[in-house]
Symmetry: C2
Subunit: 972 residues, 2 copies
């Protein structure tokens, strides 16, 4: 007989002795509170709330029995009765047993036992029940309504023991909370108080996180509860509290500001040299106040407001000595006020910003690495604030007893440009980076800066799931982010959308985050994408419009009950992102069209204005839906940053043109910057070279109005093998400001010709379009051979001819894998194991590319790579490049003296790409190019090969891929 | 008793025997025709037409007796009667005698005798009568109505003999006649025919010109009359016909196009090598057809359509030999078909474009200079198409028997950018250049390209008056263009405007032409004037608005009868020019404001649109006034040239900004590009340095809206000695988008302070304006000492401390003169005699400047000069520069290898300035700088002195003049 919960059972629950949940008095109070929340989940599912009872007799026939090992007489009994076996979980970390048993207690026929190895184990077990019932972890935070059920059953022999979470401390950081989160919580909860944190804790725990850094730019977690209410609630729930990298000894950064003063016992200087006594007292009182809660205590010291502690004149040794002194002092304070056995006190030191050099030291000055002050202390590393890891523990360092942590960013307030408005993180990147962190031994603490939380729920779920179950989602789960997204969407919208529509939600989420991954909204401007080259702006606009239409379609479909969840989790972040990207793309096109005085510019200006209005309306709507549930959360500035922060940000300039007083038209060759009005005395010839690509059968040019006068044009193809979609037409320069003319080629009619022409006659001017074309047959060449036909070759990294693995002396296989959808265009190639240093020609795997060039000589190979930072302090990421039979050239893919925070780095994180040019010798005809993996962090997206000095025209995404043997026909 | 014409007399004229004009049968028919026009003038003046009679008996008591020496029995009689003395004019060129005599004939009591030494002498005499009557030479061409008179009298003893004109052939060239002149004459006269030319000839003769090049880009003067009608009429009127530099032997350029062909007797190639026979026949028939008229026959040969004749492969010698052959052939044809005595046939060879090197040859190849083929041929030199002379005859060359001519431009179709729309020539420049031409011996032919004639009447009058009476208006008449303008305006508008209003017309004409002189309308664009530096754009806008208001005021005042004359001669060219300049200045400001996202940008965009509309409406009105009298004349494109011709020209881009979503304001320091919104994390400090100039007592900054939200600001001066015009205020970003805050300094309160500050508090951001000020007393320094207080010194050339003349061995005095109003800012300095080559330190005059700098060291002296070309082929214009007691540095003010048509030249004619930097050593404190005249063509406008490498910020006019001892207080 199955364990069943159904509507029938719950309907009767209040009138009879039929309580479902057994609430033990000796249970953790927090566990009982969580059980209440789960019971509320059941109410959402079944329409009626279950009852809990402290009296076993009042339990119904079916009961949920939950408890924590060593904190439950009931569990003890069942164990003793051999109905369950607590030894299977006892002593484990955050594990729960879920088991269906028969007749555990008198009057109870069937029971679901939820036994936690510890407090959080029980809580995760309880929330696991909710999840089994189809309740999303976002049920409370985002009003995600579960599908209503008649009945729910678990198999009679169900027994499930959860795993120990992969990462010990897993959580997020509410940061940069003004203006959005701050206004939100002030309006909804009246402050940064426990009432608000109840929701945050719940969100964290439902996502199986256990660790939180609270808001801290104006708020004081241990004062605002009011008082300790928030801290106490956290402790009750088993939420391990941390504090950011510069808030040691359980004190919030803002606290000192309120306590300092001339007559303060804490003195009046955040300075361990001049105000040692005051600072020590400050820390001591913090430890005394909050030391009995479950914490990861931040140690170390930084300056106020995220600055360095000593002046610029101080030497490295000065700094190290000071920090050592600080650490010794703090350890002693912890011993005295928290636990004399320091090894039992979780502590964390952030190796962040200037603290990092103090840890490593230099040739002359040993750093704090391996010092006894840091024994058992989790060393927290961090990304570059833009989602790219920095230094990672070397093999030797991984022995550090305290283990390692990672501070990752989904939101950042700082250089080169902040991003705080809306989610712009892309799961494949999180996977690629965080799984590498784990591989490098960063397994004790994962914390992610989620800014205001709102709109970050999607990547945050992924981050915490990855941290919880690395085996499932981590390194071995290559290319599983799409599966994850599907599951995530199912969790939120099973009750809302059909399977087909959920696929559309998946498309939307993947689509907008990939676009944001290519360029975050705050980093966009009119000059990012090229307005015409390779048609990259138009292609992206097409894609954006496709996604916006999906979003609208679902917006129309979603029922009112689920509107808020759809709006906040999907529509708002997706449309917010896409509309903003669109606005800037249109602005780039507007400026370009205006420069050429195309009347189209005026239309584009109107469209920009529409996007701008839509942005404003979208935020407004976000702030008003569900009675202002999200009020304030959209307040962060997000348009046109020119500084690292929002100050003096610049919205798009709308350029309007004045109509010419003659019937002037202009011919532009699509995908290029060629343009002409066909003047008699100046350039009136343009070139259409798309057909030089053997797979291209259709190309286009555009005729645009320069005046608002009706103007006719006549198009004459001079060759039988060229057909234009129109032979004449007219524009009025007002309603109709341009016409795209599609040109088709019929290579079978070309005979020996390689050049054709199309003449466009206009009222003012006549233009000749020279059409260069190729009809060569490359079928003799091997598949995957790229053929240079127009000055360069562009290769998507996954289009290798050979992916060659290598085996090292230990017999391990080293191998490149395709990371689908990763990077700025098609995908990326990364070598595994991710921690490996390979020797090219020995144990290094390589990718081999085949290509044909028309002339022998020196060529440049430009590699496009994910903007990884080196995992060591050396500042290099090497790969091997080998042209034909030449020697392997070991190349540092980073600029000389590359450093996180320098300009190259800055360009890299904004553009989300690193490129590096190397030279190879090519023969006329067939050539091979091998790219060897050498250093960790090398992730290859694209290769562009061109004769030395003849770089293809500029663009944001790089030249679109050129022809290779076996490529399908395409339109340009 | 005076000679009187009055209304009474003319009223009775038809009813009695009281004809006023005596028309002799043996007189030139053209002279009689002109007399008719003069009689019509009288009708305009007196309201009644006088009568002419061929019968002496029908003459009234008062008579006008006109005739030409040797073509008038009547004059002969009077001479014989000793009533006049024809010997005083006989044999002279174009001279007339005007004399009042008593009882010349029976029944005639009083007569005015107008006796011409030749046909044109008589005609000039007749028109002189019109002028005496107050009839403008533009009476016919521009409908300038004379003031109506009751009566007119000449003193009884009046006797006036005119001078021989200074320049032999004086005239203009109707050129680049499409679309304007072409459409005009097609509509008004149905073609380029005699009916139209009647007006043109009349205009020419009334202006005392005698020479014309007819329209020739589509027209054929000798075919379109119809037939020879125009040529015959010209001959009748005594208009000497010429043809442009590439139309030899009385053939028009277009003619060959119509006559050539496979079976043509003239062959089918404009090629003296391959089609010698055909070309000779073509020329021969031209000479036969028109050789009996009065002509200056163009000799030589160029390619079709203004191109060179031989291919690029031909050597210089090849070309010279070909040209010599051509000349010999043409001379022979002229001998045979026009006059065996070649020296009696006026001929002209243009030393233009590629022909110039053929004339001069090079070291190895003697040119055509001094060759017998050119004996008696007028050698026509030319300007650089933009009003700057090029090579001029050397002293030796001036002996050439045929003399020299000059082809000057008020209109040009060619590089770097054409100007064909509207008058943009400035009298002081014409004076400066053409008087130098005369000084250099160019006295036989002056021809000016006037494009469509329309709107060029003002400078054309001046050009022809200068050519007619060089003694009055030429080299010795320094700074008399203003007088000329006054007289010209009086001629046109005595009947129309009061003296005060005529002064306004003078201001308008001088004002708009000076502005156009600084930058021609077709050469303007948004980036010419700096939108903020030195406030040059604002100052110019102010001046333009002042002039536009004058134009409007007069527009309102002028009576309907005189509207056309005012509109076509003053309003249209002035407002057309000014409005266009304004549009571009606003565009520059719009782009600048938009870049800063000032809401003001949107207002500016609207204003640009207004200017653009006004431009269109102005042309429309020009085309419709007076029943379409000027239809077509405004058709030339004139906005935004990006090529040398109008093709693909680009109208202003209007930039609009989107309002920020916060109450953002911005502080800008007027006259500089400093701007800040007062951000907390970025630059929020700006500098007001105007008070470093001791004479400046008021400066300003501006607060601008960045949003459309009402926003208040508060201004606090931190110093007693600084007062702001407002201490608070608000902007709404819609109606009120900016506020200019005037800052006054009270130096008496400064004490020892040199730095003050003003704090501007805004809703978002706070800005501090650091005010640097100087209260030094420089009264100990000599007058005219410039004092460096802010990094540089800028000196208007006329503000020398000493203007030192020099005397050469022959005792001639060499001396700089101030040319008032000349150049781009205040005035210019030029050395006289203009032909002089001076030796610095010997016979060279110099200007001495005094200045004080704060630090010793190397300084750069940047000279701003009128963009003169060298008068010789050497490509150099030298001057001497001497800092303090250092050696005189003889400096070529032109770039190395300067050549007309190169990029430096191009920039010079567009910007209307040449600048040249030299270095001098300065001492701390007082320094002197001497500038010596060395080569002809050196015209100095401004000097800027600054420490090496520390060039003041960029602008179009250069830094405004800085303080000198004795300068009056000024606002910045």
């Amino acid at each position: 007989m199955e364990f069943v919960i159904n509507q029938e059972l719950l309907k009767n629950v209040s009138s009879t002795n039929a309580a479902l949940f057994y609430e033990e008095k000796e249970a953790f109070s927090g566990v009982n509170k969580i059980a209440q929340k789960v019971m509320h989940d059941l109410e959402l599912v079944f329409g009626n709330a279950p009852q809990a009872t402290t009296d076993r007799k009042k339990l119904g026939k079916n009961a949920v029995l939950y408890g924590t090992v060593d904190h439950s007489a009931m569990l003890q009994e069942l164990d003793e009765k051999k109905m369950i076996d607590l030894s299977e979980i006892k002593g484990k970390r955050e594990v729960f047993l879920l088991q269906v048993i028969d007749h555990p207690l008198e009057g109870v026929e069937k029971a679901l036992v939820i036994a936690g190895s510890d407090k959080r184990g029980t809580i995760y077990g309880l929330f696991h029940l909710s999840e089994l019932l189809g309740v999303s972890p976002l049920v409370d935070w985002c009003d995600v309504k579960p599908q209503q059920k008649e009945s729910f059953s678990l198999e009679a022999d169900l027994k499930y023991i959860s795993k120990e979470p992969s990462v010990r401390y897993r959580g997020f950081f509410i940061n940069d909370e003004w203006p959005a989160f701050g206004n939100w919580t002030m309006k909804r909860f009246g402050g940064f108080n426990a009432e608000m944190y109840d929701h945050v804790f719940q969100l964290l725990l439902r996502m199986k996180g256990n660790y939180l850094w609270p808001a801290m730019w104006s708020a004081r977690f241990s004062e605002d509860g009011p008082g300790l209410a928030s801290a106490e609630l956290a402790d009750e729930y088993g939420v391990v509290m941390g504090a950011s990298h510069h808030e040691p000894c359980l004190r919030n950064g803002e606290e000192y500001k309120y306590l300092r003063g001339e007559n303060s016992i804490y003195g009046d200087a955040w300075n361990f040299i001049t105000n040692r006594e005051g600072i020590i007292k400050f820390w001591e009182d913090g430890l005394k106040r909050s030391g009995n809660f479950e914490n990861v205590i931040t140690v170390g010291m930084r300056g106020e407001q995220d600055t360095s502690i000593m002046g610029k004149e101080a030497t490295l040794a000065d700094n190290i000595n000071l920090l050592r002194d600080v650490l010794q002092t703090q350890n002693q304070l912890i011993r005295e006020n928290v636990n004399p056995n320091l090894s039992e006190v979780p502590r964390m030191l952030a190796l962040y910003k200037e603290v990092e050099p103090f840890f490593y030291g230099d040739e002359n000055t040993p750093g704090l690495m391996n010092s006894e002050e840091l024994e058992d202390v989790i060393l927290m590393l961090c990304d570059d604030n833009h989602g790219n890891l920095r230094t990672l523990p070397t093999e030797e360092m991984r022995n550090h007893k305290g283990g390692y942590g990672m501070y990752y960013h989904f939101d950042y307030h700082g250089g080169p440009i902040s991003y705080e408005w809306i989610n712009s993180s892309y799961l494949p990147k999180i996977w690629e980076q965080m799984s590498m962190a784990y591989d490098f031994g960063v397994r004790d603490l994962w914390i992610v800066n989620v800014g205001d939380i709102a709109t970050q729920e999607f990547p945050l779920s992924y981050f915490l799931d990855l941290a919880y179950d690395f085996e499932k989602w981590g390194t071995d789960a290559v290319n599983k982010t799409n599966l994850y997204t599907n599951q995530w969407v199912e969790k939120q919208f099973q009750a809302v959308f059909s399977e087909d529509d959920r696929k559309k939600v998946v498309e939307l989420l993947t689509g907008y985050t990939k676009i944001a991954h290519n360029r975050r909204p705050e980093h966009m401007n009119a000059d990012v994408y090229h307005p015409v080259n390779y048609k990259e702006a138009d292609h992206l606009l097409q894609q954006i419009d496709y996604l916006l239409n999906l979003a609208e379609e679902l917006y129309q479909k979603v029922d009112p009950e689920n509107f808020t969840a759809y709006f906040s989790l999907v529509y708002y972040p997706a449309v917010g992102n896409l509309n903003l990207q669109k606005m800037w793309l249109l602005t780039g096109k507007n400026h370009y069209a205006a420069k050429l005085r195309q009347m189209e510019a005026n239309k584009l200006a109107d469209q920009i204005r529409e996007c701008f209005k839509r942005d404003r309306k979208l935020v407004e709507q976000y702030h008003t839906i569900d009675n202002g549930k999200w009020y304030g959360m959209g307040l962060s500035e997000h348009i046109g940053f020119i500084n690292w922060n929002e100050e003096e940000c610049q919205y798009p300039i709308l350029m309007n043109v004045l109509p010419a007083n003659k019937q002037r038209l202009m011919v532009t060759v699509d995908g290029t910057d060629q343009h002409t009005e066909g003047p008699a005395w100046h350039n009136n010839k343009v070139y259409l070279n798309d057909f030089l690509q053997p797979d291209v059968e259709e190309a286009s040019f555009t005729i645009s109005s320069i005046s608002d006068l009706k103007a006719e044009f006549k198009i004459t193809s001079q060759n039988q093998w060229l057909t234009c979609s129109q032979t004449s037409g007219s524009l009025d320069g007002v309603e109709k400001t341009k016409e795209i003319i599609h040109v088709k080629i019929d290579r079978s009619k070309m005979k020996a010709e390689t050049e054709g022409s199309i003449v466009v006659e206009m009222p003012v001017g006549t233009c000749t379009i020279i059409v260069n074309a190729l009809q060569n047959d490359f079928s003799e060449l091997p598949e995957m051979t790229f053929v240079e036909t127009n000055g360069y070759i562009s290769i998507e990294a996954e289009h290798f001819a050979l992916n060659k693995e290598a085996t090292n002396q230990q017999g391990d296989v080293n191998k490149f894998e395709v990371l689908h959808g990763y990077g700025k265009t098609l995908s990326a190639m990364k070598a595994f194991p991710t921690t490996g240093y390979f020797t090219a020609g020995e144990d290094a795997p390589y990718l081999e590319y085949h290509f044909v060039v028309q002339e022998s000589g020196q060529y440049e190979v430009e590699l496009y790579m994910q903007p990884s930072n080196p995992v060591t302090k050396e500042g290099t990421i090497f790969c091997g490049i080998q042209g034909n039979e030449d020697e392997i050239n070991i190349v540092n893919t980073l600029p000389e003296k590359y450093r996180v925070d320098d300009d190259n780095w800055g360009a890299g994180v904004l553009n989300n790409i690193h490129t590096r040019s190397s030279r190879i010798n090519c023969k006329e005809g067939f050539n091979t190019l091998r790219i060897y993996a050498v250093s960790p962090g090398f992730v290859l997206e694209k290769l562009v090969i061109y004769p030395e000095g003849k770089k293809p025209v500029t663009s944001y995404l790089g030249p679109t891929e050129t022809y290779y043997v076996g490529k399908c026909g395409s339109k340009l």
